[in-house]
Symmetry: C2
Subunit: 494 residues, 2 copies
Amino acid sequence: MKKQIPFIVLSDKHTAMPLYRQVYNSIRTSILQGELAAKTRLPPTRVLADQLGVSRITVVNAYEQLFAEGYLEGKIGAGTFVASKLPDDLLQTSKPKNIEKRQSSPLNLSPFGEKLLMGDLESTRVQFETKFQPFQNGLTAIDEFPFGIWSRIAAKFYKNPPRSMLGYGDPQGFYKLREAVAAHLKSARGVNCTAEQVIITSGAQQALDLTARIFLSEKDTFLIEEPCYREAWNSFSATGAKDFSVAVDKEGFNLANAPRTDEKAKLVYVTPSHQYPLGHTMTLARRLELIEWARKQNAWIIEDDYNSEYRYAGRPLASLQGLDSAGRVIYIGTFSKTIFPALRIGCLVVPPDLVDVFTVARAFNDAHSSVVNQAILAEFISEGHFARHVRRMRRLYEERQEILVREVKNKLADFIEIEKSEAGMHLIGWLRHDLNEEKIAAEASKKNIKLSAVSSYYSGKPPRKGFIFGYTAFDELQIKEAIAKLAEILRRID
Amino acid sequence: MKKQIPFIVLSDKHTAMPLYRQVYNSIRTSILQGELAAKTRLPPTRVLADQLGVSRITVVNAYEQLFAEGYLEGKIGAGTFVASKLPDDLLQTSKPKNIEKRQSSPLNLSPFGEKLLMGDLESTRVQFETKFQPFQNGLTAIDEFPFGIWSRIAAKFYKNPPRSMLGYGDPQGFYKLREAVAAHLKSARGVNCTAEQVIITSGAQQALDLTARIFLSEKDTFLIEEPCYREAWNSFSATGAKDFSVAVDKEGFNLANAPRTDEKAKLVYVTPSHQYPLGHTMTLARRLELIEWARKQNAWIIEDDYNSEYRYAGRPLASLQGLDSAGRVIYIGTFSKTIFPALRIGCLVVPPDLVDVFTVARAFNDAHSSVVNQAILAEFISEGHFARHVRRMRRLYEERQEILVREVKNKLADFIEIEKSEAGMHLIGWLRHDLNEEKIAAEASKKNIKLSAVSSYYSGKPPRKGFIFGYTAFDELQIKEAIAKLAEILRRID
């Protein structure tokens, strides 16, 4: 008898793949690669079983699967053939397991896809894990988080999970969380809103992306702070809209610095409570001026209130949103800086007549956020744990800021100028001399120190060189050691 | 003395708002509403405190806050004045708390935003909570989910949460979950992939949205099954791309039914393992034909493998992706049908040269999915609980399907034709007579029965009327009662 299926190689028994599957795979591959032509007769199951040293049922199962998928024809027992219907030309050229290397043919993406692929947009957020290296910015003191309480709330939820919360949920967000967020934003931030205006997002990043998609297209222009939060610039630019960078000064965003052509700008992005990354607070006069401008322009103001919880002196300024009587402000908040980033919960507060479009956009994007996480956070806030944790962290972060300033002044005074700040999670250490930022950052990186150059936040030439020093996630010892290493590095650099 | 601040009304003591904040709010509102003009002198703190019957420190705190925010000028003790810098015209027109009703001025949205607002896209996914009414489709038997095991894994995670997993994570997804997903898809679905090609998404919805954004713009066209999954149509249409609906038959998607003009179609959306909603399996010949077409066209095939875990007879067919040697298939999977929808975890498997663009798009969209949920799911799968749960549900759902068929045949045979199916989570009950679908659905809804008309899945006129009967989330009693009620309703309808 002709050895019809000479190519079946069964793996040794340690493989997880069932024997019938191995037989199935071998035959299927041979058919697809044209080694077994259409109408070829296969050996009876008993014969093949003997040949392979497996039980007959194994081969029967493999054949049945191949019948079901249309690779075989006939009836088991009455002659089994490779299907005649398979178009031969397709089979000859198919090479499963190895995908052909794409030739010069373009990937054929959308303009958005092309932008992403070409790296026109800097994706600073693409990272694989957080190494918590000093002085990475925007991280929390994760070891201080009350995971015990959080876990207890989670366990309580899972003990008797309400059915209605485990199907598909409200794209606008779990209502109890929206209530808790509205109450918090009203009292802590002077945000003028009800739970009906709050939209829970998967972090501030999704809030930015939704906002960009809802307002901007390639015909539009937007204004953004110079320097600025790069992820915001990315989100708005990804729509194809044209950007205008507007230099900030000590009073924050300054419309007077906007180019004349901005008169048609549709959207402006600001960080009024703590300019990112310089740290200035936008003055009241500037705030009112901006709102009036937006009202006249029919433009939108995006207020990113990313870390307003951390103010160490004075009281937090009320939000810009709270001043807005024209319904022009979209407020963005995040729990990444208070709970932890991996949770992926943030929020939007939008004028009442924009709630629908944001909610539908969210539904289109990804339905809604994990309801379990939303429910845990709602309880964490309403039981008072959130406020308590933020208060504790505020004290801790203030202390850590003091340690950082002291260490820099003691050990790096010749190289770096640093000043205390009333708020925030980072300071800027300005270089006293015209040193090479990239070289310093590269040397620091070798010592597991992460320094971001201030220049990377500018679209143009920055007025001065310096680095961002995030301090919130690092204890006294870590700060001391890292500053000592940095002093060594700077002494060696010229 | 002139009663300079006659408008301060302190709430009774049951309010949560601190007294100083009430004083602050009153003064601030008066300034913004122009009741207190620029340069107006405020009473000394002691005088106002007496007048209001509060302690002096309360008023000092309020004044300090107003100083900090730029509403007041001067020095406490040396005369306190409303700031002179505030532009008067702004102040007069501001009416905090009540946002002006927008006049005729347009909201000024992007084309995407306008589409969403105008309801051009049906947002069938917008719902506030899942009521688990028979015969809602796509829901799981949530009461059968092993929450005890899930909760134990969660507690274990929180007991000693790895720091590096609580900062910002990998936009492509938690690596261990990607490994577990790749292993599962390889063995259960014949998907040809490594963990490097898997991208974890926030449900299948995000996979659809990312795919639409990466490939389509208003210049493109796409092919979609007729009838089809409406959310997929929504996602692709939201980009402004033109759609062509291609009628399916018993062999699934049929390119021969595509209009001639489709020759430039850039993308095709199919549900090969279980056509949604008709339930057909796409034959091998059709699969190979489609892949060859995509190769020649340089087009993309989106394979939505939404519920392939539930096959009750025969074995699951291998995925279309597993046949693709041209790297043209984007595979979409979901855990909404196996774990529960509220978890919001799904996945994409993309050809190697598309991994980067999808990962960056995900980073731009919302950074990544909740890492805790991903870690719990990874452990749930790798400990074998996932496979066990799916096996249990397969038996249960098969039983429930049988109950549904039996009840319909016993009590609704005059009105509805229904046949067993080898797979899926729903059946279609075809109406024997030309009854009014909407009227029946409306009557059913009054009895807490949810019926979706088959016609709602068609862009054109459906060949026949009927309803979707989801059966997986309902036990014998619920199915019996609902069918009995439906029999009553149908007997009364003409």
